[in-house]
Amino acid sequence: MESVVAGVVIAVIKILVILGIVLGVGAYLTWVERKVAAHIQRRPGPMVVGWHGLLQPIADGLKLITKEDLFPRYGNKFLYNLAIVLALVPATLVFAVVPFGPEFELFGYRIKPILTDVNVALLLVFGLGSLAVYAIAIAGWASNSKYPLIGSMRKAGIIISYEVAITFAVMGPLILAGTLSTYEIVQRQIEQNLWYIWVQPIAFVVFLFSLLAETGRVPFDIQEAEAELVTGFTVEYGGMKFGLFPLVEWYVEVLSLSAIAVVLFFGGWSPINIPFMGFVDPLFFLGPFSPYVWFLLKVTVLFLFILWLHWTLPRYRIDQITEIAWKVMLPLALINIVLTAIIAPVVWR
């Protein structure tokens, strides 16, 4: 009985920590994004509210919350609000299977810094990730307006195409690790002295394309396409309800998929890897905190890379996007699976 209580308490603490980090960081990433975008375009970005605009997200949040709540006359109010919940919940649930660091012992309890170490974690990631389609499709339909509907149909098409590509892309690392659990995948990479990026570069490229497409980042932000659709499926949303969609899509989903990419390709919390030789840890002086710092560092670098792409590239057309998915990414991922399936047993068994 005592172990059940302890398990529940530990789980609740983990949930609170993860939610706090994800939503808090998510809100502040708006500031990071605006700063990075500004400096890429050689302007200072937000400078007025607080030191270098540090209080800008709070000001924006206050403004969004206090705005009048407008609603389209012939829309469906229930579905209109439900879409927001459907967008937020699956995106945050993905963090349940993200391992933040190695197992440690505290007050006699062994704790893994991962909410649920299930054996099918990766399948859950993709299942939950593609549940986002419902939020967007329903948001578009409930708004009873043409731009949102077009935007949501585009997004649904993109997600369906790229969900296939991303699922096949992760097969390569899965074959190498021989497990679906995210925690175990990192452990295997540490045991094998190998970040899977060194042997799975094709899978990583396909994963990155799918990440950008599923989160609606440039060059795949065709569902928002300010120039043609205003902002796509969020046209009829106002105030904080409008703010939540980009928050979920651009920050929470990008963060979760970046974390999964780090787990799959960059060895999770392990330090810098020299292929087949070992690990070099320039941050050894941090002691037990070094794995967490490494994990955060890798996710941050990947996030900044995605921002860099976002504010540099132009946008694809919708037919080009689906063509890339089915004619380039899917065959590449399949070739990668076949090659890995042939080579991996030779090397490791």
Partner: protein
């Protein structure tokens, strides 16, 4: 004990969602109830310890299949979606005997299946290998032939879909490039 409570929660959720599917008239609500029922069934699989089946239920049924219903329904205009006259009440009553027959068949298959299933034989296997590995090894040994036949059927379906799609694209003038 905890598992029983969770199971009861998920099954109540699934039954309520099932009732919702057949009582609501707005097709979008029906799809949402169906989605809710599918997620509840995935939850039941998880409580039963069949993690792989639960995750596949979520991935294939709740996302891949139900999305296409949403895809079609979002193209339905508002006024038609809430119209009530389109329900076939008479046909519903007429099809009731067939529905009951199907349910009886399902029950018979279920009870026959219980007596025929290898009771406890797989448990040691699952504990040693884990869920995913067991399903994989059974698929590629005992049910290999059926597995391959199913994949052939899917391949034929895919070729058919490509053919239909190509025919349609030829009727438009291609001036996009």
């Amino acid at each position: 004990m905890v598992r029983l409570i969770v199971f009861l929660m998920f099954s109540a959720w699934a039954i309520i969602s099932g009732v919702g599917v057949i009582t609501f008239t707005n097709p979008i609500y029906v799809i949402l109830w169906l989605l809710s029922a599918l997620i509840a069934v995935a939850g039941i699989f998880f409580t039963a310890g069949a993690e792989l089946v639960g995750a596949l239920q979520l991935l294939i049924y709740a996302v891949a299949i139900a999305v296409f219903y949403v895809f079609v329904l979002t193209a339905v205009p508002w006024e038609k979606a809430v119209k009530k006259g389109s329900h076939y009440r008479m046909e519903g009553v007429l099809s009731l005997p067939l529905v009951i027959l199907l349910y009886v068949e399902m029950a018979i298959v279920f009870f026959l299946g219980i007596t025929a299933s290898p009771e406890g034989k797989l448990r040691a296997f699952i504990e040693r290998l884990g869920n995913t590995e067991v399903v994989g090894s059974i698929l590629f040994t005992k049910y290999f032939f059926a597995f391959e036949v199913v994949s052939l059927v899917l391949l034929i379906g895919m070729i058919g879909a490509v053919l239909i799609g190509r025919k349609e694209s030829q009727t438009y003038e291609d001036d996009t490039r």
